[in-house]
C-alpha cells in the first residue's frame, strides 16, 4: 500500500489549518480509509485538542525521532474511529527538535500502512513549514477571503511550486460568509481563485458550530446537520477522487431565512 501524504498549510496563522486537518482526517476515516494525522506544530500543538485526544498522549513525534519509542507506540487511536490515528507534536520542545529528513522518513514509513497521511503544518515559512512539506506529495492551501491571508497563500503556493515532490496543490477557502459577499463586503470565492489561479478543492462556510466543536474536542464532520461539516465531507470525497459539486453555502438556515429566500426568489422571477 502506498498512501498519499497531504500537507495542510496556509502561511498565515488562524485561518483554520488545524481545524481543516482534524475534519478532513475524520471525514476520510469515516469513508473507510486508514488515516494518520501528523501534527508538526511542535511547541504549539493543538490538533490533539480538536480531536479530544489530549489526555491520551504519552509519546510524541519528538520521542519517535529521538528513539525513545517506536513509531507505532506514538500513534494515538481516535476515540470513535479506529481507522484514524494521531501522531502528536511535543509541547515542551521547539521546531528544531525535528529535521525535514526525519519527518520524511516518518511519512515514508507510515505510507506503507495508511491510505492518507495528513500533515498539519505550522504557520510561517520557516523550519516548521520546511519540515512539514518535506515528505508531502500533495498540498492543500487553506485561505480565507481576506487580503492578508491571500497574500500569504500566494507566497506558500510559490514555495510549493518550487518543491518537486509536491505533485499538486489545491485551494480551500475557509470561513466564507455568503451574506457579506452579497453586500460586497467580502471577496467572493471566484475572486480568490482568480487572484491565486489555483484549483479549488472546497469552500467552507463560516459556522459558529466550529467553535463549539473545537472546545468539545469533536470535529464538526461528526455533526451531520452542520453545513461546514458537510462541506468538509465533500472535500474528503474530492481528495478520494470523486466528482462532487460544490455545496450551496447560501442555504437558508432558519425558518425566517427560508421564508425570506422564498419571497426574494419570487421577486426576482
Amino acid at each position: 500500500m502506498t498512501g498519499s501524504v497531504i500537507v495542510i498549510t496556509s502561511g498565515k496563522g488562524g485561518v483554520g489549518k488545524t481545524t481543516t486537518s482534524a475534519n478532513i482526517g475524520t471525514a476520510l476515516a469515516k469513508d473507510g480509509n486508514k488515516v494518520v494525522l501528523i501534527d508538526t506544530d511542535i511547541g504549539l500543538r493543538n490538533l490533539d485538542l480538536l480531536l479530544g485526544l489530549e489526555n491520551r498522549i504519552v509519546y510524541t513525534i519528538v520521542d519517535v525521532v529521538e528513539e525513545r519509542c517506536k513509531l507505532k507506540q506514538a500513534l494515538v487511536k481516535d476515540k470513535k474511529n479506529p481507522n484514524l490515528c494521531l501522531l502528536a507534536a511535543a509541547q515542551t520542545r521547539d521546531k528544531s527538535a525535528v529535521t525535514a529528513e526525519q519527518l520524511k522518513e516518518i511519512c515514508d514509513t507510515l505510507k506503507e500502512d495508511f491510505d492518507y497521511i495528513l500533515v498539519d503544518c505550522p504557520a510561517g515559512i520557516e523550519q516548521g513549514f520546511q519540515n512539514a512539506v518535506a515528505g508531502a506529495n500533495e498540498a492543500i492551501v487553506v485561505t480565507t477571503p481576506e487580503m492578508s491571508a491571500i497574500r500569504d497563500a500566494d507566497r506558500i503556493i510559490g514555495l510549493l511550486e518550487a518543491k518537486e515532490e509536491v505533485e499538486k496543490y489545491r485551494l480551500l477557502v475557509n470561513r466564507v460568509r455568503p451574506n457579506l459577499i452579497k453586500t460586497n463586503d467580502m471577496m467572493s470565492v471566484e475572486d480568490v481563485v482568480e487572484i491565486l489561479s489555483c484549483d479549488l478543492i472546497g469552500v467552507i462556510p463560516e459556522d459558529t458550530g466550529v467553535i463549539t466543536s473545537t472546545n468539545k474536542g469533536e470535529p464538526i464532520v461528526n455533526d451531520e446537520n452542520s453545513l461546514a461539516g458537510q462541506a468538509y465531507m465533500n472535500v474528503a470525497k474530492r481528495i478520494q477522487g470523486e466528482e462532487v459539486p460544490f455545496l450551496d453555502i447560501d442555504q437558508p438556515r432558519t425558518i425566517v431565512e427560508k421564508i425570506k429566500k422564498f419571497f426574494s426568489k419570487k421577486v426576482k422571477a
Binding site: N55, K79, T92, T214, G217
Partner: protein, 316 residues
C-alpha cells in the same frame, strides 16, 4: 537598576530543575535584587522555553539577564537568537564547586575523595583560613549539600579576580617561602573533573512560586511544591511527591524513578494525565475541557497507587 554584575555559577547543574533551584537560592541573599545577572552554564542543552523560564524567574526578582556563559553549541545558538549576550567560558573543563576546590587544594593532591569528605566532616577547620565564614558554615550543612553545586551562589565570586584573591590569602597563610609562591601560581585554580556522580538527597524539596505555563517542564530529583496553577501543556516530573497549591491541569509524574509510594496532591485536580512510578491514568473523556476551570471552590485531592492503579482520595 544596580549596575553591579552578579554572576551565578550553574556549572554543576545537570537539569533545569537544579538550575531553577540554584537561581532562586542565589536571590535569597539580601541586596541581590535589581542587578544584572550573568549565568555560567555547563555543557547542558537548554531549549528556548527553558531559557525563557529562567529569564522570567530572574525578571521576577527585578533583575535582568545580562549574559550567558556556556560550552554547549545549541544553547549558545538559541541564546544568540533570543538576543542574549553569550560569552565563551574562560575555563575549559568542568570543575568542582568552590568550597570543594579549596578543600581539595589543602589536602594531598593524590587523594581527592578523602579531601572532600574531610572537608565536609570538619567545616570549622577551614573557618580560620581566610574563607568567608558563611561558606565554611554551609559546607557542613546538609541543606546546602543537597542544593549541590548551586551552593556557591551564596557568595557570588568572579572567578578571575576573587579567585585569585582567595589564593593570595592562602599564600599568606601557608606559604611565606618564595619558591612555594610560584607553585601556587602554577596550580590550576579549578580542580580536575571527576566522574563521580553528584549524590542528591532525594528527600529534598523544591518550592516553585509561579504558574507553570504550557510548554514549561519542571523536572526535579526530589519533591516538588508548586504555589500556583499548572496549566495544560506543562509537565511536572519528580522522583518524589508533587504538591500543587492551585489547579493541577497538566501532566504530573511523581515517583519518576520507580517510587510507588509517591503521591500527587492538588487543591483542584484537573490533570490531563497522572503518572506515579510506572502507573498511568488519564482524565475521563467526558470532562475533557480544554481550558482550566477556574473555581473558587477547591476540592483538595490526593492521588496514590492502590493495587496497580492510581486512585484519587479527598483530603479533608
Amino acid at each position: 537598576m544596580n549596575n553591579e554584575l552578579f554572576v551565578i555559577d550553574l556549572t554543576g547543574c545537570t537539569n533545569t530543575g537544579e538550575i531553577i533551584t540554584s537561581v532562586s537560592a542565589a536571590f535569597e541573599v539580601p541586596d541581590s535584587r535589581e542587578r544584572k545577572i550573568g549565568l555560567k552554564l555547563s555543557d547542558i542543552t537548554l531549549n528556548q522555553a527553558q531559557i525563557l523560564s529562567i529569564q522570567s524567574l530572574i525578571a521576577s526578582y527585578a533583575s535582568e539577564l545580562d549574559f550567558v556563559e556556556t560550552l554547549n553549541e545549541s544553547t549558545k545558538n538559541i541564546c544568540e537568537n533570543m538576543g542574549i549576550r553569550v560569552q565563551t567560558p574562560q575555563y575549559v573543563e568542568k570543575h568542582e564547586p568552590n568550597y570543594e576546590q579549596i578543600g581539595f587544594e589543602i589536602a594531598p593532591k593524590d587523594d581527592n575523595s578523602n579531601a572532600q569528605s574531610n572537608f565536609e566532616a570538619q567545616p570549622q577547620e577551614l573557618k580560620g583560613n581566610g574563607l568567608p565564614s558563611d561558606i565554611a558554615d554551609m559546607g557542613g550543612n546538609n541543606i546546602s549539600d543537597s542544593l549541590g553545586n548551586g551552593f556557591e551562589e551564596f557568595q557570588p565570586i568572579d572567578f578571575n579576580e576573587d579567585g585569585k584573591q582567595i589564593m593570595e590569602t592562602y599564600k599568606k597563610a601557608y606559604d611565606e617561602d618564595e619558591e612555594d609562591k610560584q607553585t601556587w601560581e602554577e596550580v590550576d585554580y579549578y580542580a580536575p573533573p571527576t566522574d563521580e556522580p553528584v549524590v542528591v538527597d532525594s528527600k529534598q524539596t523544591i518550592y516553585v512560586n509561579q504558574t507553570l505555563r504550557s510548554g514549561q517542564v519542571l523536572e526535579f530529583d526530589g519533591n516538588v511544591v508548586i504555589i500556583g496553577d499548572c496549566h495544560p501543556g506543562s509537565e511536572i516530573k519528580a522522583t518524589g511527591d508533587i504538591t500543587v497549591w492551585g489547579v493541577l491541569g497538566s501532566i504530573a509524574h511523581a515517583g519518576m524513578k520507580g517510587n510507588r509510594d509517591a503521591k500527587i496532591r492538588a487543591l483542584k485536580m484537573n490533570a490531563v494525565q497522572l503518572r506515579i512510578a510506572n502507573c498511568y491514568s488519564r482524565r475521563p473523556d467526558g470532562t475533557n475541557i480544554p481550558y482550566i476551570i477556574k473555581s473558587s471552590v477547591f476540592t483538595p485531592e490526593e492521588a496514590r497507587i492502590v493495587d496497580d492503579s492510581i486512585v484519587l482520595f479527598k483530603i479533608n
